[in-house]
Symmetry: none
C-alpha cells in the first residue's frame, strides 16, 4: 500500500508521515501540486491524501485534472475550512472522502483503510490472461487452474506487468513501483525477482520478453 501526502505544512506532513511509518505504511510526501504531479507521473500510488489549501495551484485543480484524465485513484481531501460547501464540492469533484482539520491521526488512518478496503473489495477483481488467472483481492494467481505460490515481490512485479501488457517497461519503471524513493536498489535485484517470477509462470501463457538495453515487455501468448 503506497500513499502520497500532498501538504504544504511541513510540521504536519512530518508528523503524519511518522504516524503512518509507525503503523508500518510508508508515506511519500509532496509539498506542492507541482511536486505531486512529478511524483504521480513516474510512480503509482494506491491512495492520495490531498490538502486543499496549497500555495500556488490548489488541490482542487490537481484533483480535477486527475479525474479528467480518467485517473480513478482514491483521494482523501484535507481541508481547514469547515464549510459544507467545501466538502460538497470536493466530493463533487471526485474526492472519495474528506477530513476537516484539525483531525485525529487515528481517524485519518481509519479512513484510509476504509478507502483501500473499498478499492480492494471491488468485485470483478479476477482477470484472465490466457491460461493465467489473477485475483487482485486475494493477490493470488492460477495457471491452468493450479494455484501458483507467489511471494510479495513477485506479486508486485506480476501486477505491474499485467497492468502494462504489450508496453515496454524499463528497469527504472519497475524500480519505481517496487521501491520507495529512499530505498536503494540494484538492477540485479530486479533481474533476480524476474527470474523467480518467470520460473513460477513457466507454464503460463504470459511471456515476459527481455528487450536488451531497454527493458521488458509482457504479452499474452494464445
Amino acid at each position: 500500500m503506497r500513499m502520497l501526502l500532498i501538504e504544504d505544512n511541513v510540521a504536519l506532513a512530518d508528523a503524519t508521515r511518522e504516524y503512518f511509518l509507525n503503523l508500518g505504511h510508508p508515506l511519500d510526501w509532496a509539498g506542492s501540486v507541482e511536486q505531486a504531479e512529478r511524483s504521480l507521473s513516474f510512480d503509482d500510488f494506491d491512495l492520495l491524501i490531498l490538502d486543499i489549501n496549497l500555495p500556488g495551484r490548489s488541490g482542487y485543480q490537481l484533483l480535477q485534472s486527475l479525474r479528467s484524465q480518467g485517473n480513478k485513484i482514491p483521494v482523501l481531501i484535507l481541508t481547514a475550512r469547515a464549510e459544507v460547501d467545501d466538502r460538497v464540492s470536493a466530493l463533487d469533484l471526485g474526492a472519495d472522502d474528506y477530513l476537516v482539520k484539525p483531525f485525529d491521526f487515528r481517524e485519518l488512518a481509519a479512513r484510509c483503510r476504509a478507502l483501500l478496503r473499498r478499492e480492494r473489495g471491488d468485485a470483478s477483481s479476477e482477470t484472465q490472461y490466457g491460461n493465467l488467472v489473477y485475483n487482485q483481492s486475494t493477490q493470488s494467481a492460477c495457471v491452468n487452474g493450479q494455484p501458483v505460490e507467489l511471494r510479495p515481490r513477485e506479486t508486485q512485479l506480476l501486477e505491474l506487468f499485467l497492468k502494462n501488457l504489450d508496453r515496454i517497461l524499463t528497469k527504472d519503471d519497475i524500480a519505481n513501483r517496487l521501491y520507495t524513493f529512499d530505498q536503494a536498489y540494484t538492477p540485479n535485484a530486479i533481474e533476480q525477482t524476474l527470474t523467480r517470477l518467470r520460473k513460477q509462470l513457466s507454464d503460463s501463457s504470459l511471456i515476459i520478453k527481455t528487450i536488451r538495453g531497454l527493458g521488458y515487455l509482457a504479452h499474452v501468448n494464445d
Copy 2:
C-alpha cells in the same frame, strides 16, 4: 460483532460499554449524531444502539437519513419516553427494535443478540464448516462433535475468519474488529490469540494460512 452506541449520557454510555466489553464485544461510543455519522462513514458496524433524545439533531433524523440511503444496518432504539407513539414511529422509521429506559443490561444484550441473529437470516444459528460446527448464538464450537473451549478473544477471531473465508485479512482488519479505536494493540497480541485459536482448532478442517507480510487467509479444507 462490532457495535456503535449513540448516547449523550456519559455515565450510561460508560456503563453499557463496560458491560459489553466484559461480554467480549467491543462497543464504540458516539456522543452525538455528528460524531456517529463520522464513525459510520469510515467503519463497518454490525449494530447501532441509538438513543432518541440527543442534543442537536435527534436520533430519528440519523435513522431516517441512514434508511433513506438504503443502509440496512440493524438499529435498536433507546428511549426515555414510554409513550407508545414514540415506539411506533421509531419502528416505522426503520428501527428494528426498541427498549425503554431504564433498562436491564442483560435485556439489552439479549435483544442485540436477537437482532444480529435475525440479520443473519438463518433460523438455526449453527453453521457447519467441514468437521467444524459453530453456533453463533451460544458462541460455541465443536470439532468432530467434540466441544472446543474457546475464550472470548478466540471466539471473536474465529467469527471474523468464518465471515471472511477465502479472503485475506490484514492485521489491521483484524485489529479493527477486535479492538475499539482508542484501545492500543500490538501485532503480537493478535499473533498470540491466533496461536491459541489454531491450537484449539488443530483437528478441525478450518485452516488459517499465514500470508507473510500481508495477513491471514482462512479456508475450509475438505
